[in-house]
Amino acid sequence: MGSFQKAPHVKSVFADRKAAIILLGPALVIYVVVMLVPVLSSLGYTFYTGSPINGFRFTGFDNITRLFHDKDVWSSLGFTLRYALVVSVLQIALGYLLSLFYLFVLKRLSTLVRTLVFFPVVLPTVAVGLLFQRLFAIVPQNGIVNSVVGFFGGDALSWFNDAGTAFWVIVIMDLWRSMGFYGVLLYAGLLDIPDDIIESAKLDGASGIGLIRHIVLPLSLPVLLSSIIFSVNGTLKVFDSVLALTNGGPGNGTTPLTLYMFQTAFSYGDYGYGSTIAFLLTVICLVVTVFIFRSSRRDLTKG
């Protein structure tokens, strides 16, 4: 992991404050203007109620107390956490399997397969959403999935009219969309493992599961950790795929916090409460990220 150490000449450049200001200043200004200012102003809305049409009124902590009594928040939070857990685990597991497959089975021939599996990542989510709506359709005619169900003698299912089945359709769609990305990300991490270590482990008699368990897994832990943080934060903030596929339905059975926040602020015109929900989401992302970082730091010192 030599790449994580700072090169000495970089250190000397940043020791010069003038250079540091010139180099970092513009980026910092842009960051403050486009990130911090909106974030803080949104946080400010938390204490107000109203909409841009009717104007805003200060209400103190009303929105926050409302948050704890709103059963819709809790059901969306439940969906968000369930979704984040299931998709993150499967996403990284599938991605990791793919990367091992690229490295140890396909070897140099993996380029084509990698491209094909990566392909869904570049497709617009809405297009993928429409595609999966057709795949799982029941009217005007059965989609492929229902045709297969029919072929094996089952009854065609209305996949999107049940929160349980709709959840799994979203999961399948997001896995299809993202596993290629995690495959490539983790593959890049695996390539960083020096060949000689693997060779010598093989000479020592390690093979198959043992090799992966004791050599490959520990050495790819840093990139695995980045993937987990990526994945968890990405899935906690799931929005576009749900919007395109189910629009949160049936009822609010597949409404994540992000969509509930969006509806509250923009459809119901309640910007203050929408910001409060956004604040809750931010806190959750922060807590989860910190938690992952801390647990991983312990692991790294052990290894």
Binding site: R17, V33, Q263, F266, S267
Partner: protein, 434 residues
């Protein structure tokens, strides 16, 4: 680092901070000033995708009766899906960037809050000033006032009544008569279903109103014309037995399969095509659908083959069969900040000519006076007669709901008719979001 050099650095920091501050100010200035609807020199009309007929009529006017107005302020057309309309309008209003003329929100609550905030032109006052106020039909004016809190803030590009449209050929083939009571309607549906014809063309994908309006239709017959206003005023609740009974009646239709295989997946356009291709025998819809009926490529069953009957009565109910739901479609409003003399000239031209142009071009019935007589087809004449003979009109299910309650009603109606949710639970859910 020495103190001197540190001081030098901090002195150099000052211009950096100044530049940052100036950039911030410049950017925030952009935020408030940009995109105001006034200055683009066009007569911009933001309308819903679901209604292509109205903008087509305005475009026609731009090329004929309103050529001069169009020359000084060219017509410009923008579309948005109705499901996204409310949020778009609120966002534009927040940025003070409302288009010259726009569909002002599906939920009357949104339209009313725009009005309260002073964003909308008082149409009645404006037309009076332009000397063309008598071009709006009194019935249309009173409907607008009833819907939008007593103020006349919308241009009645549509004037609709709602009820059931039926396929005459299918009715004759199955020996059915036009129902006047709910039980007769259900009996007819049973016959159709037995004959392998989907009884009702309906669906709730994207928008749930094609089904929720059956609930209000039933409630108006059961309780009387004040049924939904009572909910608004808090004198009744949706969880009261009479309202739950209405929801139950609609849920029963779904349970028996009369609303199709998977209504949750059927969108507005599919509903229309299910009816116009003869797949389904009956369709609940407003008379805004007349242009679709007149479209000979889409209408496979033929306009002569379509009949109309009002929402039937229910046994022991207080409502009567001649109380038809009436509305002006998605209300079209004028932005106050974009209203100039040139917009006024356009409005005057529209008020004078829209009524006859709409009838002539697509058989659309509007709330404007028909100044040049137009010969209409049988269905249009029938609807005009119905409008003329309606003494008391009623509204629709979500008319007085908050945006959240409307969404809840739309998003859960499929669960109700699929038997996943009881009538009681459905009404509880919608009542809770009022």
């Amino acid at each position: 680092m020495t103190t001197a050099s540190r001081r030098r650095v901090s002195r150099r920091l000052i211009p950096v901070l100044a530049v940052a501050g100036a950039t911030l100010l410049a950017l925030s200035a952009c935020g408030t000033g940009a995109g105001a609807g006034t200055g683009n020199g066009k007569f911009t009309y933001l309308h819903v995708t679901e209604d292509p007929a109205t903008p087509a009529i305005i475009k026609e006017l731009a090329g004929n009766e309103c050529t001069a107005e169009n020359k000084s302020l060219p017509y410009d057309d923008q579309t948005i899906a109705q499901a996204q309309l409310d949020q778009k309008v609120q966002l534009l209003a927040g940025q003070k960037a409302l288009p010259t003329m726009f569909s002002a929100g599906g939920a009357p609550a949104v339209t009313q809050s725009l009005d309260k905030a002073g964003s909308l032109v008082d149409v009645d006052a404006a037309l009076t000033k332009l000397g063309v106020a008598d071009n709006v039909l009194p019935a249309a004016k009173s409907t607008i006032k009833a819907l939008y809190g007593g103020n006349d803030i919308a241009l009645p590009y549509q004037f609709n009544i709602e009820g059931f449209w039926y396929n005459k050929k299918i009715f004759t083939a199955n020996g059915l008569t036009v129902p006047t009571t709910w039980d007769e309607l259900v009996a007819d549906a049973k016959v159709l279903n037995g004959a392998g014809v989907q009884p009702f063309a309906t669906g709730a994908s994207g928008q749930g109103w094609p089904i929720t309006r059956l609930i209000s239709g039933y409630a108006f017959r059961e309780i009387g014309p004040s049924a939904m206003a009572d909910i608004r005023d808090g004198t009744s609740k949706l969880t009261d037995p009479a309202y739950v009974k209405a929801a139950q009646a609609v849920a029963d239709l779904g349970a028996k399969g009369y609303l199709g295989k998977a209504p949750e997946a059927v969108d507005y356009n599919t509903i229309i095509s299910d009816f116009l291709t003869g797949k389904a025998g009956i369709m609940y819809m407003g008379s805004w659908v007349l242009p679709n009926f007149a479209d000979t490529t889409a209408n496979k069953i033929g306009a002569d083959n379509i009949g109309f009957f009002p929402f039937p009565t229910v046994p022991g109910g207080k409502g009567s069969i001649d109380q038809l739901p009436a509305n002006i479609g998605v209300p079209t409003a004028l932005s106050k900040s974009a209203y100039t003399d040139r917009v006024g000239a356009w409005t005057k031209c529209i008020a004078k000519n829209f009524g006859s142009a709409a009838l002539k071009k697509s058989g659309q019935i509007s709330g404007f006076k028909v100044n040049t007589p137009v010969t209409t087809d049988a269905l249009t004449t029938l609807v005009q007669d119905k409008i003329a003979s309606t003494k008391t009109s009623v509204v629709w299910f979500e008319t007085y709901f908050s945006p959240k309650a409307s969404t809840t009603s739309w998003n859960n109606i499929a669960s109700l008719v699929d038997g996943k949710m009881s009538a009681d639970d459905f009404m509880k859910l919608v009542q809770a979001d009022q």
